[in-house]
């Protein structure tokens, strides 16, 4: 690439990166400011104090929330991986009547607004006596049309000869699934896992509904608890909370970047 062209690209890259990351940087800066500084609308804090962070952890059992969030997100992730991969496996490697219809049915669930189903689901959870439990927070999300779709697309790229070879070797269906399909589809599984983990980590309304106390609550509720309605909000603390909440997911994203990208594209293409 020629030199002037390089300059143009670097300029675009830097400029976009700045714009895109500005909100995060801004939140980061505010998290170090005092109430007065924030109201004056500064960008750089006068001194970097960790007061807001101390206060966040003081005010809320944030560690507990983080751990809960982690357990719930990991739980949903694992659940989704199992349920979706099994469904996708059936769609790809077992031919049976009505397969396309059931698949269409699965896909159609992507279009149902979650808000429309939330209240009845809440009652269901209550009937099951699952409020305040991890299963109440996780199980409803195990079946995921997007995930099934993504994995199905990937499974389709696996040569069917692998299936046949293992049939000749005498492998059972499940053994084939377990010992061949899953290991071979690692990238897609990582992708779906990351997707499931992130979306679960970011959930707010559902965890709020099905929990009554701090026992299994997740960190997004904590974020909400930092903001007040009638009484003035302390923005510095809220932003500290925001930073604490996004750091684990950002870290996860940075680490899994490559894998994620690979897996996502496989799903995107027919």
């Amino acid at each position: 690439m020629s030199f002037p062209k390089k300059i143009v690209f670097y300029f675009l890259l830097l400029f976009s990166a700045f714009l895109l990351f500005f909100p995060v940087m801004y939140a980061f800066m505010i998290s170090f400011m005092t109430g007065g500084e924030i109201m004056q609308g500064k960008f750089f804090p006068q001194t970097f104090t960790f007061d807001n962070y101390f206060r966040v952890f003081e005010r809320l059992p944030l560690m507990k929330y983080l751990i809960n969030s982690f357990v719930v997100s990991a739980g949903v992730m694992i659940g989704q991986l199992i349920v979706c991969s099994m469904a996708a496996y059936a769609f790809v490697f077992i031919s049976f009547k009505g397969r396309d219809f059931i698949f269409f049915l699965f896909i159609s669930t992507m279009m149902i607004p979650w808000e429309a189903t939330m209240i009845p689901n809440f009652f269901t959870i209550q009937k099951l006596d699952w409020t305040n439990t991890y299963q109440g927070l996780t199980v409803p999300f195990f079946a995921l049309a997007f995930g099934t779709f993504l994995l199905r697309q990937h499974f389709k790229t696996i040569p069917k000869e692998l299936f046949e070879a293992s049939q000749i070797a005498g492998l059972s269906r499940f053994a084939f699934f377990w010992r061949v399909i899953l290991p071979v589809s690692k990238t897609s599984l990582v992708t779906l896992g990351a997707y499931g983990f992130l979306t679960t980590w970011n959930m707010y309304l559902w965890p709020l509904l099905v929990t009554n106390n701090d026992q299994v609550r997740t960190v997004q509720i904590g974020l909400k608890q930092l903001q007040s309605q009638e009484v003035a909000t302390e923005w510095g603390v809220v932003m500290a909370g925001v930073i604490v909440v996004i750091i684990p997911t950002l870290l996860l994203l940075f680490i899994g970047q490559k894998q994620l990208q690979k897996g996502l594209t496989q799903g995107a293409l027919k």
Binding site: G35, G36, M39, Q40, G41, R59, I119, P120, F122, F123, Q126, K127, D129, T131, N132, T133, L205, L208, L209, N212, N213, D214, Q215, V216, I221, K224, Q225, L226, Q227, S228, Q229, E230, V231, A232, T233, E234, W235
Partner: protein, 433 residues
Amino acid sequence: ACSNNESKPEPSNPNDEEEGTAESPGKVEINFWHAMSGAGQEALDSIVSDFNSSQDKYTVNAEFQGSYEESLTKLRSVGGTKDAPAITQVFEVGTKFMIDSGYIEPMQSFIDKDNYDLSQLEENILNYYRVDGKLYSMPFNSSTPVMIYNKDAFKEAGLDPEKPPQTFNEVKAAAEKLTKSGEQYGFSMLTYGWFFEQLLATQGGLYVNEENGRAGDATEAVFNGEEGLRVFNFLNDMNKAGTFGNYGTNWDDIRAAFQTGKVAMYMDSSAGVAAAVNNSPFEVGVAFIPYADDIERQGVAIGGASLWMSKGIAEEEQEAAWEFMKYLTTPEVQAKWHIGTGYFAINPAAYDEDIVKAEWEKYPQFKVTVDQLQQTKPSVATQGALISVFPESRQQIVTALENLYQGADPQEVLDQAAEGSNRAIEIANKTKK
């Protein structure tokens, strides 16, 4: 959707028991659902833990349940069952719903049983929650609206900072003077139905028929009468004149505007006074809310939330809840609450506590809020309206205000809001069992 309310009579959820194991076995444990976040939660948590350590019979678990709407949604699903929390905090507009719901035990029964002396509490607050002479819930976080103004700006504009405007016309005139085009608006008000209700009440205007819903189920909204129109005209005039700043529906936005000198006068909750004084780089004054010129000032209705006791839970839990509520009303606790949050002390004796005195020393503005409350003339208007679909109706008012600010006709938007509320009321009455 409530068929599940009669669910299995199992002991309440396992986590409570887990928590209980930490305590000595004889203790009665109750849950307290609240919607206090931010500073309110901080103060509340400390009161609850004080209570828990002040005696060894009861343990209260204060549990945040999201915003008022969210927590009410949850209550609806467990109300009347064993799973219901012993105490629930419900915002004032949910009062009618709670009374009708059948989930709750009226406070009055305990007051009678215990011979509790109600007179020690602030009459004007109790009035709101008293229906047919029965107190249904225990007031908790109560606030009234006040007008907060920028004394420095007053001086600058040649106004007397110690004599804030009182009537609509005075406010308009002052706003005119205070407005500096592009830099500072004279007056602002949060786009929130509560303030409209207050400006209505202080004129003695009613919100709904049937004596503001206190003589029976309201069937029609009447806020679009002359009092309501006055309020809308008041706002509309200033908006047209460019002296009114619109800062939307978010409490923090309007406060920030005031604190950064963008607005010279605005309506706030009494609970916001302390922050306004603290965060503003200028001197802050607090005044009564304005009233229509040719009319006598009636005073304000309270806002905020109260605590409700559940029916259908174990007796000793109700007992515990009652004990906790009594504890809450003690002057010491109320003093602490008042200072921590800016909400009123429901027990006026609290204002004599030293800590309050010290605080008032620092913030003489607090006194104005209490005065306003105590000078209120009790009537159905200042008691506040009772309707089950209040949240929806408030939303109608918000929309009406927003449209007003966009230049719509005051009477028209008001009528639309009334119409919308009527439909909601109608449906609610139709489906009421």
